[in-house]
Structures are given as C-alpha cells and as structure tokens.
Symmetry: C2
C-alpha cells in the first residue's frame, strides 16, 4: 500500500474549504463543496471525497466554474422548481433546492426541481438524504460527459448517469441508494487505474469494443452500462430528463462544451420529491416499509442499500480516514 495521510473529518473539511478559497471561491461556495466532500469521506466513499478536490481546484484555476456563483430559485409551475446554479459547483445550488422542493412536495403531493447551469462532481446520495430528512421520498438523476457505450455500440456516448433514491424512515437514517447507470462508477475505475487494480470484465470495453479487466483500457475505450441494454435504457432516460426536459446539456453536448480541465463537466440535475403523507397511506407507510425491510432481511446474506455507508460512517467516526500521500500532495500543489 502506498504511503497514506491520516485525517480527521474536521481536517478534511478545512483542507477542502481553505484550498477552494485560496483558488478564489467565496465562503458559501467553498463550504458547500467542503461539506459534500467531507460527507463522502465520512461515509467511506473515497471516490467522491478528497479524490475530487484537485478537479474542483482545476476548474477554479481554469476559470470554467465560478467560485462566486449565486444560485437563484424560481417556480416554473406549481409543482416544478428550477435552481439556476449560475455556473457554480452543484453543492451550493442544491442547498437552495431542498427546502423549496420539500415545501412544493407537501403542497402538491409531488414536485420536481431542475438544477441547471451547474457543475456536478459528487455522489447523488446527499440529495436523496436531504430530501428524506425533510420527509420526502425522492429520486435524483444527473448526466456527465460521454463515458458509457450505448446498447449495440462501442463508443462512449452516455455519462455514467447516476440515479439516487431515498426513503425516509422513522427515528433512523433513511434508506438511500445511489448508483451509476454504468456498471462501475467512473471514480472507482479511475482509482483502480491509479492503484494498479483490475476491474470486472463487465465494467467496460477497450477502444475496439472488446471486454477487458484493465481500467486503463476502459478509460481509453468505453464503460458499459449495468445489466446490458437495460442499464443503457436507463442512461438514455436520464439524458432526456436532465437534458431536453429541462433545457440543459446531454452528456454528448457537455463533452463538447467542457474544457477538459479535470474538473466537473457542465450539466444539470433533476430531483423528484414525493410527500408520502399525500399518497393515500399517510398513517401506514412508515410501518409498512419497515415490514418490507424486515421481511427482506430474513434472507441470509442480504442488507439494505446504503447500510454499508452507515457502517463506514461509524468506523470513520471512530478511526478517521486516510488518503494517499500522492493525493494529498496533488491537493497542496493545486492549491498553490
């Protein structure tokens, strides 16, 4: 194992916030990104933690992303909101969406929020978690730049196009999953390449369309959608939801527009929130879901999606976490 730097979550947050501010982000933007990075490290998601910070910094350095973005919220219809992220990183824009979206869901039963003109580089489970913490069932989707081959094709076309889903639970953490439409998250393939590990042969193809376990070959070729054409269909759905539906970039357009500075690509996100008290079983839905979960967990070997993250959270709270020295050095170097 390469040399590691051990950090507390407080150190993580300070490192992220300070370096972003040194590169010109204002406090609101820097704190929002630092919160998101720290939440990822807190839950053991290294691929969306400090691993992303050099990219965020690159986009401030290149001038692609505004570190002083002032997101603005508008209501397009009774059930549809839009946050214009003002060409900033996603986290601050998202923080403008949650309360308003939860309020609209409570009023109408269901509501949606588009976050546009943003640069998203993080996991999606924070969105679903925030909405669950406000009592809402939610789904969130975003696209990226071309990385995943479509069904029948071998060249990158879709982003890894993740979706998150969150279900609020009484007196405990929500059930939240967040999964790429790609068989593997891009960040995980990048980390495998960095660390010299192989990946499953379902993860992608080389530039000639042949399956490979070499992450570098996949990065030069194309990732595969999970489950073949079905994951690819979900990818296409997500392109439509965050592109044409809300008037922002599809992945192929984001890829053409991006300056490839290593930071997050331009794009948008859609979140749908539902107030389960307005769907016909206001008094029973929570216990009913617990009955479902309990029945599921009777089978040996099963767990609920997201449970590993909560276990990681306990571990990290006790032990802290570490990042490779090389990453730490890269952050310091990018910070200047």
């Amino acid at each position: 194992m390469s040399e590691q730097v051990k950090l507390t979550l407080e150190q993580c947050h300070a490192l992220a916030k300070d370096s972003l501010m040194k590169r010109g982000a204002n406090e609101a933007n820097a704190v929002a990104v630092a919160d998101t990075i720290t939440a990822a490290e807190r839950d053991g998601c290294a691929s969306h933690g400090l691993f992303r910070l050099p990219g965020y910094l690159s986009s401030l350095i290149s001038g692609k992303v505004s570190g002083n973005a002032k997101p603005s919220l508008e209501r397009l219809s009774p059930g549809v909101l839009r946050v214009n992220a003002d060409n900033g990183f996603a986290p601050l824009a998202l923080s403008h969406a949650y309360d308003a979206l939860a309020e609209a869901a409570k009023e109408n039963g269901i509501a949606a929020c588009a976050i546009t003109r943003m640069y998203h580089f993080a996991a999606l489970w924070p969105e679903a978690t925030e909405m669950a913490n406000r009592g809402c069932v939610s789904m969130a989707w975003t696209a990226a730049t071309p990385m995943v081959a479509p069904a029948g094709g071998i060249k990158p076309f879709y982003g890894t196009n993740p979706m998150a889903f969150g279900w609020p639970r009484k007196d405990r953490e929500p059930m939240v999953f967040d999964q790429a439409s790609a068989a593997m998250a891009r960040g995980e393939i990048m980390i495998a390449a960095r660390d010299g590990h192989s990946v499953p042969s379902t993860a992608g193809v080389d530039k000639d369309g042949n399956p490979t376990t070499d992450p570098n070959e996949i990065l030069a070729g194309a990732q595969s959608a999970f489950g073949g054409y079905k994951g690819a269909a979900l990818s296409l759905m997500i392109e439509l939801l965050v592109g044409p539906l809300i008037g922002d970039f599809c992945s192929f357009e984001a890829g053409a527009a991006d300056n490839k500075d290593g930071g997050p690509p331009p794009g948008a996100e859609l979140i749908i929130a539902m107030d389960p008290r307005r769907f016909g079983d206001a008094y029973g839905f929570e216990d009913h879901a617990e009955k479902l979960f309990a029945e599921l967990l009777k089978q040996p070997g099963t767990r609920l999606p997201g449970d590993r993250r909560y276990l990681n959270r306990q571990r990290v709270a006790k032990e802290g976490f570490s990042i490779p020295q090389s990453l730490y050095d890269a952050i310091l170097e990018k910070t200047g």
Copy 2:
C-alpha cells in the same frame, strides 16, 4: 416448431373479448383487457398477448378478480390521483387514469397516479404510450409476487417489478421502453420452459442458488435482477413505490394473498407524468431530444428502445401473427 394457429388482430380481439365475457366479465372490462392483449400481439410481444388469456380467465373462474369492476378516480392532493380498481383487471382502471393524470400534469407540471386494488398481468409500455400520446413524459412501475432473489439472497422476494418510461415525439411514435427489474421477463422464461429452450445463465438460479440455463430450474428457484445488486435496488424501490407509498401490496404480501389460480396477482401501480412544457424548455425540448436520438443512432449497431416493437407492428399489420395450437386449445378449454 409446434402447430400454430394464425390469427388477425381482429380475431385476437374477438377471441379475448368473447371468452372473457363468457366467463362473466362485462363488456367494459372485457374490451379493456382485449385491447391490451391485442396491443401486445400487434407489437410482437407474445409473452403479454394471448399467452395471458388463460390466466385472466382462470381469475374470473376462481372469482378472485371481479369481471364487473367499476374503477373510481379520486384526487388525493393537487398532484396526486388514485384510481381504485375495485378488484378488477388493470386495463379498465388504467383507462380511468390517463386523461386525469395528463390534466394534473399540465396543471402542476408533474403529477402522479396510484392505481390500487388491481390485478395487473400486462406489459407497462401501454401506460407510457398513452401518457406520451397525451404529451406527457412518464414513468410507471408495478410489482408482482415473489420471483426474484434480493442482492445477497437466493430465494424469491421481489416481483419482476417492471418500469416503463415514455417520451413523446413530434409527429411520430413516442420513445417508450418497458423493462423488468428481473434480468428476464417472467413470461419469457415461462415461454422458454414451454418451448424447451434454454435461457442465459444470468436469468436466475436454481433452488440452491446456483446459476442455471434451465428455465424450469429457475421457475423452481429464483430469477435474478438485471445487473446484480443495482437491478435489485431498483426492485426494492419499486416495492416501496407501489406498496408502502400508496398503501397496497408489496410482492411478498401479494404472494401470500394470491390464490395462485394462474391469473394476475393483486397489487398496485404508480405512474408519474410530467408535462415537458412546464419544465423550462417548452419550445426546445422536442428538437433537443431528436438531436440526442440522432447522435445516438450515428453509432453502428444502435437503435432506440421500442423500435423493435414498431418494426414488429409493421410486420404483424401485414402478416398477422400466430399462437401455438396448444395455447389456442387452452383458451377454448378455459372459455368453456
């Protein structure tokens, strides 16, 4: 190939309608089911066509399903509708949902409709198609009875839990996909078993949890979700959406409640509809989507989801279709 009976779509519709009415369904219910069965055969989806008719008839014979159901529509909140299917087959209840849901989506931008106390045995693409024909982007989900093993488990727990998605297109058929969260549709495995064909080893496991290509072993064991734990996470989401959220059965509850007469299980469905004119790009969304589709189709070997159905439709319109003599005989026998 076994002996076949050649039919026109008109003959298909009459066969379905007449046999359902002979078994006690009133005209409204019989026609709605016959429409759905005929649409499946029209689009080359044998597994949801007349193949399902003996099951529908069994449920009239056993008295499980009401052939005289009178679905009723109510509005639970500005954006949430519910159709109580009155213990009838899904198609008539669904026909009560479409206009009202489209209207609610136009008013609010986004709306949802729960269809509860119903017996669903059909594909989901008709729902997404109907909503697209009313100008709406939509998603639909339903559960079933335990057939699919959860992530980490080997026993049936989830239904095949399909989802459909529809995108309206200008002056042409909508882009609609409909896919089970199971790696293979139950109907396809049943047809493979009937015809003595093998299935891909990803389709399921035998009763000891070992992968198998024998459809009969899978029917005695468990189907697998598509793409492993990710498809299983979608299955769980769908259980929550059509069970606890709207106050109806999860698959494990439907399995316990069902009389196993070979007909559709009791359960519910959720449809979310969005009016793309209310999401921020009212004038551009259609052309933008066409640009996405065109870019996708530049890659050799690709096609849009649903295109095969539209090709089938042209073929069936010209040539009609056929069903096995054994199925035809089973229908006549069930009709009495």
